[in-house]
Amino acid sequence: MSATDLHRTIEAVWRIESARVIAGLTRLTRDVGLAEDLAQEALLAALEQWPQTGVPDNPAAWLTATAKRRAIDLFRRNAVAKRKHEDLARDLATLEQTVPDLNSTLDDPIGDDLLRLVFISCHPILSTESRAALSLRLLGGLTTAEIARAFLTPEPTIAQRIVRAKRTLAEKHIPFEVPRGPEVAARLSSVLEVIYLIFNEGYSATAGDDLIRPTLCEDALRLGRILAELTPQEPEVHGLVALMEIQASRTRARIGPTGEPILLLDQNRAHWDLLLIRRGLAAIDRATNILNTSSTTNRSPTDISPAPKNNPTRGPYLLQAEIAACHARAHTPEATDWPRIVSLYTELAHLTPSPVIELNRAVAVSMANGPQAALDLVEALATDPSLDRYHLLPSVRADLLYKLGRHHEARTQFELAASLTQNTRERVLLLTRAASCRTPPR
């Protein structure tokens, strides 16, 4: 095996194992930053030694054992300073002597450590940006350079963000645990928010020349799929996974031959990925089944959500997934169940009031009840100062005005939208539509 091949093999092993190794080490050291440093040292040791010794039969066990030996060395050195650590070092040493398979000491069959790692990486005490970077690093096994490339951010910025996040977690003594009780909902939504942020950063790139950065979508989907298996009783987790699967199913169809965006209703549905749609619909079913049975049956002991209300309601991710599913199920744009989409948006707006959701609802209303009804809603929204710089407002308004034959006004709105968007490709599309308003049909 050549040096490059070996290097790539080690990277692959790291990708598969790093989250579990770090999670196990965090449980032992009670410090996620230290745990990651130790795991990184083990990785470096592998890069040094494996070229000579070859890849061990069980590379994960090797990484874990190496990291753990370093932890013991470190604690021994610090033992004088801190009694607590001395105990810990002794515990570790005993563990090592009594348990023949080193890997099994860190074995985590039900994934509790991994779930703890998910929660600590996405702790609300950290900014969403830090949470995203830390999650990709600790859970996704990405290098700082890979994260920087994905977010189009300089590498030192990402490195700083990760260092600071780890320091914050240590300084604030954030416990390595799965939250229980009243905390659960907020903590889980913090996790879901981060995963969806990573997905969206990939799916609708907020800056730069590309509309989609598929690796970030894949990373987010993988995190979501892992989380869905760790917390199978959480309907919103399945809702988020469903939403991402269905949106990702359109990746192939939403970019034209020259990289221009293609709107949902203009997409060639034959290019939608049926496998991902099927997975998305299955995830919706899982969520729905949980909601339907949660009020009548006993819940599993690993269920971390608060006790269900008698009338279980669909959360925002599941509702958005249901909306995406309405499109996914329609074989032609004409077959779309617009009244159902309007009612889902109404439910969503009720749950999480937001002008952006109102805007989307307006688009659905225009399809269900015609452009004038929708324009009334949109013009009411135009007075909302929070949408001042939001390019989709004038973009939707322009489209409705165009449909009503008010081309002159439509053109102004398309141009306004073009001036507000950060994405080069989208700007071109909006300017093209503005130009098409110059010659109104008689």
Binding site: R222, I226, L230, L275
Partner: protein
């Protein structure tokens, strides 16, 4: 990136109504479970023996149907999985961890699936050249300011 992991047939898998070894099934389920938990496995299917299948041979305008079973067992497909991983090496690592459910020799083939980004959105050489020139001009103008 996605890979199709193709499980090749063996004399056992080619037998009709062959009862799978319970331990083999348990190992396979455990492995499948791990792949799902890791967010790697997207879908998987197992295939009936080739005796229940057929081939259609194309030759110009002619189509000839050949009924199974087919002789070259090692070249036949017994099942397949679709995985999402970061690299070929990651796929190889996962395959190496999979149980060997056959007493004798067996083989698994790993093939990368085409993704939209493999088609580079149809940028022509001229497009790329033009883009480079525009960028160079912009840089030039910025430098003169």
């Amino acid at each position: 990136m996605r890979f199709m992991v193709i499980v090749k047939a063996t004399p056992e898998s080619e037998q009709e109504c062959a009862l799978p070894d319970p331990q083999g099934v348990a190992d396979m389920n455990k492995s499948t479970d791990e792949l799902i938990k890791a967010g790697v496995l997207l879908s998987y299917e197992g295939l009936h023996p080739s005796s229940k299948g057929a081939r259609v041979h194309f030759s110009g305008k002619n189509r000839t149907v050949i009924d199974g079973p087919f002789a070259e067992t090692k070249e036949l497909v017994a099942g397949f999985m679709l995985w999402q991983v970061k690299s070929l090496e990651e796929a190889i690592e996962w395959v190496k961890r999979s149980p060997n459910c056959h007493a004798g020799e067996s083989e698994v083939e790993i093939r990368q699936v085409f993704e939209p980004e493999d088609f580079a959105y149809g940028f022509s050489e001229e497009d790329i050249q033009q883009e480079k020139e525009i960028r160079a001009q912009l840089a030039d103008q910025a430098a003169k300011k």
